[in-house]
Amino acid sequence: MKRREFIKKSAIYGVGASLYPYGKLLAGKRNHKLKILVLGIDGMDPHLASVYMHKGLLPNFTRLANTGSFSRCATTFPPQSPVAWSTFTVGAPPQLHGIYDFIHRKPASMLPYLSTSKVNPASKTLDIGDWKIPLIGGNTENLRKGIPFWDYLAAEDIPTSVFKMPGNFPSDSENVRMVSGMGTPDLRGGYGSFTLYTTSPPANADKFTGGMVVPLTFNDDFVETSLEGPVNTMRQDTPKTRIPIQIWRDRINSVVKLNIDGHELILNNGEWTDWIPLTFPMMSFLSEVKGICKIYIKNVHPEFVMYVSPVNIDPSDPVLPVVSSEEYGKELVENVGYFYTQGLPEDTKALSYGVLNDAEYLDLAYQIINERSALLDYELNRFSKLDTGFQFFYFSSLDQDTHMFWRAMDSGHPLHDEKLKQEFGTTLQHLYVKMDQILGNVLERFDINDPNFRLVVMSDHGFAPFRRQVNVNTWLFEKGYLDLPNRNSMESSGYFSNVNWDKTAAYSLGINSLYLNLEGRERFGAVSPSQSKELLKKIGKDLLSLQDPKTGQQAVTNIWTPNEHDKRQHAHVPDMIIGWNRGFRNSWDSILGGLSNEVFMDNDDKWSGDHCIDPALVPGVLFCNRKVTKQQPALADITATILADFGIPIPVQMTGKPLYHV
């Protein structure tokens, strides 16, 4: 971002030249030799880290802690990744950046949307026969408000690179090297959609979310099928684009020959491909969309089963801004190879539905870690040659894999058993060791005692078990806050499909959010604004006394009711954020407006650990090669420290304070 544009943007957010004294900056406080490297390890838990460090399994984290500091880092309320990383990004709480949950809703239509970004279709098109040519509009929009800290760095000409920051899509900066993070869609427009080709479709295939099943019937060991790509918006009938796939199988030798988009592949049973570049035709010879996918031959015979990863946007020829420039995307692909561009690469849905088993999921998980590690290596090569600069680099693996394998070490989880413990009980430990090895590579390259080098390793939150799911909408119904016209058919996974809005006072949507059905705001509002304060007080009191009938445990330990000032900043602010106790979380159905027959149920999903609970129970980690002196450090404090270390005044809208005296 050019300085003139930056000043304009600052004015829009009320920072203004008077509050951002450039004259002071130009007076020469800046350290022109300083380099700051921040490694973001999503979901790294301080308790697990301490246990493994105590066992001597994490020598590099221990060395970093002994050189500087290791402490807990306070997370956001709610402790969800888009919320927490946005707080780190702008150095302020949700009241500034406006991200309160993975999911927000439009009160007027009552429909949900991903809170962090959106893709807007073209507003004007030229229609020629079957073709629809986009003329005006069509863009991607980051819904996070506030100024990211890297804009302040770029405005001071500090070489800056931000790799995969969650909530940061699109990558729209001219002066910052950037790869977009969590919230980046795959080529089908979802957030990770695998394709399973099989001669034996699972009985529950129609229930799959986050993927699709294509039934196959071989004829003389040959079958022709296709891979679904993006919708062709250039055609009037908006069909889905497809790439043909031919498959031959050799049942005796358990080998498969594939032909996909001109690539001929010979694959053994249990073999993964590397990334395969694909071209989806949109308009003959004039327009095409580039994607990449990986293929895994799960079984050749008697049943044929083949997994195809979500089709990712090709970073070397991106159809959406997943990299800050096409040149940067090409540079990464030429030097490191193709890589996952979708926001969260780990295929947790494939594991939850049994499309991949535990070992297969972990095989892919380690491919992802190694791919990310190679990208870090490349970025650090460049960073090490700079005189001064800032580098942020993000790992999603520990978070996603802890979600999936908590059950293997938690004897209280409904899916835990001795066999699982024997096979996968140390999976999380191995993952922490892997992250320690990656840190070890960093420590070999940089001198952590150099006064001009700062190294921060941080996470956005820690972790807790997810043993019991709580359907908040069913609870609201039982308490009389939500009305159903037909009480005998309560169970519904549809989006509030059976709710009588005229008599409904409150509803839950998202992982931690609760809303009043407010007159003048919600589409069928039934609660007068004058009643809202008392009503929220009553719901909050009821929630805090909610007990699990199975264990007697308190299900909710904290609630936050954003005030009217907060709501004036952003129209979509929830009326209440629920802070679950350890072991509890909103139910799978309730998150998207479904109801169930029971309020409390066992969580029988392999997604068995979680962190979307009371933030006091899941702090993140903060390792730093300087001694942190600030009491109870928080995410926004790290942001403030980055600016302060570079000699940049901390803007008034940032609430964080430096971690140590600068």
Partner: protein
């Protein structure tokens, strides 16, 4: 082409923000804002796949 009337003070405020927001004219700025707002409601009616797409997130 239909015309609408707006308050003079509001017009001045929009005019002052037009350049700051990076638009070349007041008309372009207003049209963009209106299109953005209207599309929110149109999208709600025209996007039945939104729930399916969100369910691709492991958290949901």
């Amino acid at each position: 082409m239909p015309k609408i009337k707006i308050d003079n003070d509001l017009y001045e405020r929009i005019k002052n923000s037009t350049e700051l927001a990076g638009y070349s004219s007041v008309e372009e700025f207003i049209i963009h804002i209106l299109e953005t707002q209207v599309s929110q409601f149109e999208e709600a009616e025209n996007d039945p796949d939104v729930l399916e797409r969100l369910k691709g997130l492991g958290y949901i």
